[in-house]
């Protein structure tokens, strides 16, 4: 016990006094995923007195490429609970509380009140804005981190009168316009780097050491190793507009973009329909091709230049590799007031498989009926 934090306490900048501050701090981490795992691991190791973990999701084998608190023995288990079990082995001297539930407008304020610092390790905009607004209302500092493929963003919000996430990006982008890791992939080590930077910001806030990223957004690129630090100003107007709704905050529900939701369809539901134009918005080199459909190829980057290729008399069905670019195509055409556009939920490979399975099933039926 006395030796556990020796490498901290022998630093003159921390000492026993600083270590006691760490032990007396309560930190709540939202999301025990790619970012949450390294954040939790370092904060538990550092001896943060109380660690809360919010995650409703379960461990999937595709998480193990980057979510370092889990292993094959925890597959299928709730992430908050599995993380707690692992962290209790790492440090039994701290208190770890697992919340195996979704963060909502209904439970956020009460939960945040019980902690000193909130850390955002979530993977979607709805929860990020919920976390930010709840931090503003409960007046808690927020250590923010977010990733995209090989790039990450880190900042500290709502700290010492600094800006909030909404001062940077006032509103959530339209659903589907920004893909997440499960849709597009991520370099496994990237959340390790960004999450560790977040843990570092938490410790600097607790110890009042150095300069935090309050009022600054750090942008990190793992491929070029370029670090940019951009200044963010506090917008009093934006912050007050969140605070004025604090009494109705708990009644809110997450808004979904209905227009885009209704434009999403599955390949199964339209294969029997006629008068359809299938449009592949991938670049020409992308595989696999879907030869079994009559497809018009218009890369998303050239869509506006090729509006004449779009048949106004037909129902337009867009697809791409994962279903992201096809949504953008539909959004773009909706803005240009071109009606009857839909985006397939499935990517090209899945579409190809579904169609070939259908042909196979039909073949089987024919053989059976001919007997």
């Amino acid at each position: 016990m006395t030796n556990r934090y020796n490498r901290h306490t022998i630093l003159s900048e921390i000492g026993q006094n600083g270590q006691d501050k760490i032990s007396n701090t309560k930190v709540l981490v939202i999301g025990a995923g790619g970012l949450g795992c390294p954040i939790l691991q370092y904060l538990a190791a550092a001896g943060v007195g109380t660690l809360g973990i919010v995650d409703f999701d379960v461990v999937d084998i595709s998480n193990l490429q980057r979510q370092i608190l889990f292993g094959t023995s925890t597959l299928g288990k709730n992430k908050a609970k599995a993380a707690k079990a692992r962290l209790e082995d790492l440090n039994g001297d701290i208190s770890i509380i697992a919340y195996a539930e979704k963060l909502t407008h209904q439970n956020a304020l009460n939960l945040f009140e019980q902690y000193d610092i909130i850390v955002d390790g979530t993977d979607n905009f709805e929860t990020r804005y919920l976390v930010n607004d709840a931090c503003l209302i409960t007046n808690k500092p927020l250590v923010f981190g977010a990733i995209y493929k090989f790039e990450g963003q880190v900042s500290v919000f709502n700290y010492k009168n600094g800006p909030s996430y909404r001062c940077l990006f006032p509103e959530a982008p339209k659903q589907g316009s920004v893909p997440n890791c499960s849709e597009i992939g991520v370099l496994g080590v990237l959340p390790g780097i960004i999450g560790t930077m977040q843990a570092n910001e938490v410790l600097k806030i607790i110890l009042e050491l150095g300069n935090t990223l309050s009022g600054k957004l750090l942008c990190y690129n793992a491929l070029t190793l370029q670090n940019s630090i951009l200044k963010i100003s506090r917008s009093e107007e934006i912050i007050q507009s969140v605070l004025k709704d604090k009494d109705i905050f708990h009644k809110k529900v997450v808004n979904f973009n209905c227009e885009i939701d209704s434009a999403l369809i599955s390949i199964e539901s339209i294969l029997s329909e006629e008068n359809i134009q299938f449009i592949d918005v991938r670049e020409p080199h992308e595989e696999p091709k879907v030869e079994s459909l009559d497809v018009t190829s218009i890369p998303l980057s050239e869509l506006e230049k090729n509006l004449s290729k779009i048949d106004s008399t037909k129902k337009k069905i867009f697809f791409c590799q994962s279903g992201i670019r096809s949504i953008r195509a539909v959004e773009l055409l909706q803005e240009l007031d071109i009606q009857n556009c839909f985006s397939l939920k499935e990517g090209a490979l899945e579409i190809k498989n579904i169609i070939s399975n259908r042909h196979y099933d039909r073949g089987k039926t024919e053989i059976i009926s001919s007997k």
């Binding site: 790619g34 970012l35 990020r128 990733i147 995209y148 940077l168 997440n180 940019s228 951009l230 953008r328």
Partner: protein
Amino acid sequence: MHIKVKYFGQIAEVTKKEEESLEFSGQLISELLETLHSKYQILKITDFKVAQNQELVSFETKLTGQDIALLPPFAGG
């Protein structure tokens, strides 16, 4: 004016480069964005913020800096 524009995240995927230099004679950030829109049409439907000389600014800001960055929000965690 000689301007260096940096692209982040999914914007760099659209422009297929992380930065580029261009000559520009307009007055406002919004005018520069119009030029970039005509070059990369997909920017019209992408949410992003602009930083001028490492400071986030509104689109109506006067163009004074030579370092411009287009910054989209990231969702992933």
